[in-house]
Amino acid sequence: MKVVLVKRVKPLPLGGLVIPGASIVIGVLISTVVLYVISRADPLVTLSCVASALVSPEIVLTFLFLTILGAALLVAFNGSIWNIGAEGQLWLGTAAATYIALFTALPQAPAIAKVAMVLTAMALGGTWAAVAGVLRAYLSIDEVPVTLIMNYIAYYIINYLVRGPWLGKKTWGYIRTDMIPDQVKFTLLPGSTTVTYEVLIIAVLALIAVYFMLKYTSLGLRIRILGSNPDALKAAGVNVRALIITALTLSGAIAGAMGAAQLAGYLHRISYPIESHTANYGYTAILVAWLSMLDIRAVPIAAYIVSALYQAGISMQIAGISSASATYVFIGAVLLTFTVLRVFSEYSLRVIRG
């Protein structure tokens, strides 16, 4: 008797809901056990931290950021282009927006400055991603190591700027830039201390734009075929090189927009060194994109769950139950469970005798 993995004729019905749902439950349970075994965290407290994070208003900002980045990654992921570089692309977006806010005359016209901050951030994020696109398109260099490595180059470029030419004058000894002028900060929603109108608008626009692009445009169709059957594209005479570069550029540009939103909507300045101040949204968003099973309509749901897990880790740390690492345990356990369980949306286990 042996157990075999057999391809399903049709994908598992409702697999897009059942599998991520099961992964989250199993992943959280595994994390609870791990936290209990290593840190003696009371399982009931852990689970209640997760449950209360699900309804906590504090997750809204993280949710919006992860939604924007999830949309960004889906543009590339749908074409089987694995952009691991959202982290660098978004931070360069933050840097571009900082430049506009601190070192140009534009903030005197706040509305124009805000638009310019987002657009320059998109331009820089897109250009940064395009480098990996060119290397992939013309030299068939895998984009995974390139985008990943470029995150660190981006970190150190910004660190260099913040320690050197961009170092603020009023920083009380901290190594960081000056605060961006008040008039270019995004406008807070009434009753919220973190969520702004502009971030909300960028998130909605990113979702709608990516949805329409993937579903209704020829570019979107080509990107999706690039993911499933690149040879067909070549046979049809599509310029695959340009397509790869376009997909990565768009992906980087949306990540860059999130970088601008992070600056004007929340951080208001860049602190040195980036690698200890980053929330690692660029990496966490990979989990969002995966959990959505590359369906843009599922991105907000995935972003909601992931931001709740993110918050659960933080509230456990505040409660003194565990260190900052609980968030990583949650995210790692859910992602690993999901990576394995996902197989069963297209395959099933059968027992064969003999």
Binding site: V144, R163, L287, S325, G332
Partner: protein, 302 residues
């Protein structure tokens, strides 16, 4: 300081970066894209720290780091070879787990350490750093590198590792058990990564939450810059170990910004990938053909 002690100061950093990138390169030769490296490296450091404190011996720490790394490496290998899953997603999830577990294990050990210090016991968690030990920190890793190189090019196992990295389906039809070969590659590669993380702990000689984060990626870049070649990696790892050890001296002497110094291995890695893919070096140093590809046929026994 005389010239010899300048050179010897580089030893712990060299051991850390060389062993880690050597293991990473060898493991990736078997065709599994390894994005778990940074998490496993960070976890290895924390486990080495914790095990040394609980046992009062850095050698137990070294062994524990090696064992832990091998367990996670084999998990990654099993999942990516047995199931049609994305190597990148599996690797990154183990990376996150590694970061998380490292924090939990390390913080618990640090609390114990602080209690022991109060009662007058100072457990040793760094490997010895006498001049002779430092010479060995150069000699043993390089010796292991030469052995691994010979294994890669001269033995049947080495040929099998390269074969499953280039084309696992063809290797299967030649009678090679892909899973077994990749598991062996993982065991060897990850034990080097684990030893490298213990070397890193010796180098920095302190632990706090987050110690080692990003240094696994540096080792990854060091390995890519040498085209995963065990002997060329001596050069790239050595160069970066010098840079890392004397980063602040270089800043004082030549006004070399530490940010630029930290950027160098990453830029060199991209430059090297471009060179390897666009010149005849491609034959020797290009990545394995099937690196990161799913190895799966229509159905299979689990």
């Amino acid at each position: 300081m005389d010239a010899a002690s300048y050179i010897l100061s580089v030893a712990p950093a060299f051991m850390a970066y060389y062993l880690t990138s050597l293991g990473q390169g060898f493991f990736e030769k078997s065709g599994v894209l390894n994005l778990s490296i940074d998490g496993v490296f960070v976890l290895g450091i924390a486990v080495a720290y914790a095990a040394s404190i609980y046992s009062c011996s850095p050698w137990v720490g070294l062994a524990a780091a090696v064992l832990t790394a091998v367990v996670f490496g084999m998990l990654l290998t099993y999942v990516t070879t047995k199931f049609p899953v994305s190597h990148g997603a599996a690797g990154l999830s183990i990376m996150f787990l590694g970061y998380g577990l490292a924090g939990l294990v390390g913080v618990a050990a640090r609390n114990t350490y602080n209690e022991m210090v109060v009662s007058g016991i100072y457990p040793q968690f760094t490997l010895p750093v006498t001049p002779i030990a430092k010479v060995l920190m150069f000699a043993i890793p390089v010796g292991l590198g030469i052995l691994l190189y010979l294994l890669e090019v001269r033995t049947k196992l080495g040929a099998a590792v390269r074969a499953v990295g280039e084309d696992p389906h063809a290797a299967t039809s030649l009678g090679i058990d892909v899973l077994r070969v990749r598991l062996i590659a993982a065991a060897l590669g990850y034990s080097l990564i684990g030893a490298g993380s213990a070397g890193f702990l010796t180098w920095v000689a302190t632990w706090s939450e987050g110690t080692g984060i990003n240094h696994g990626w540096i080792a990854y870049a060091v390995s890519l810059a040498a085209g995963r070649h065990p002997l060329l990696t001596v050069g790239t790892a050595g160069a970066f170990a010098i840079l890392a050890t004397y980063m602040y001296t270089l800043q004082a002497a030549y006004n070399l910004s530490p940010e630029i110094a930290k950027m160098i291995p990453f830029i060199v890695a991209i430059g090297a990938m471009v060179t390897f893919m666009s010149t005849p070096l491609r034959k020797k140093l290009a990545p394995p053909q099937s690196l990161g590809r799913r190895f799966f046929k229509e159905e299979r026994t689990v």
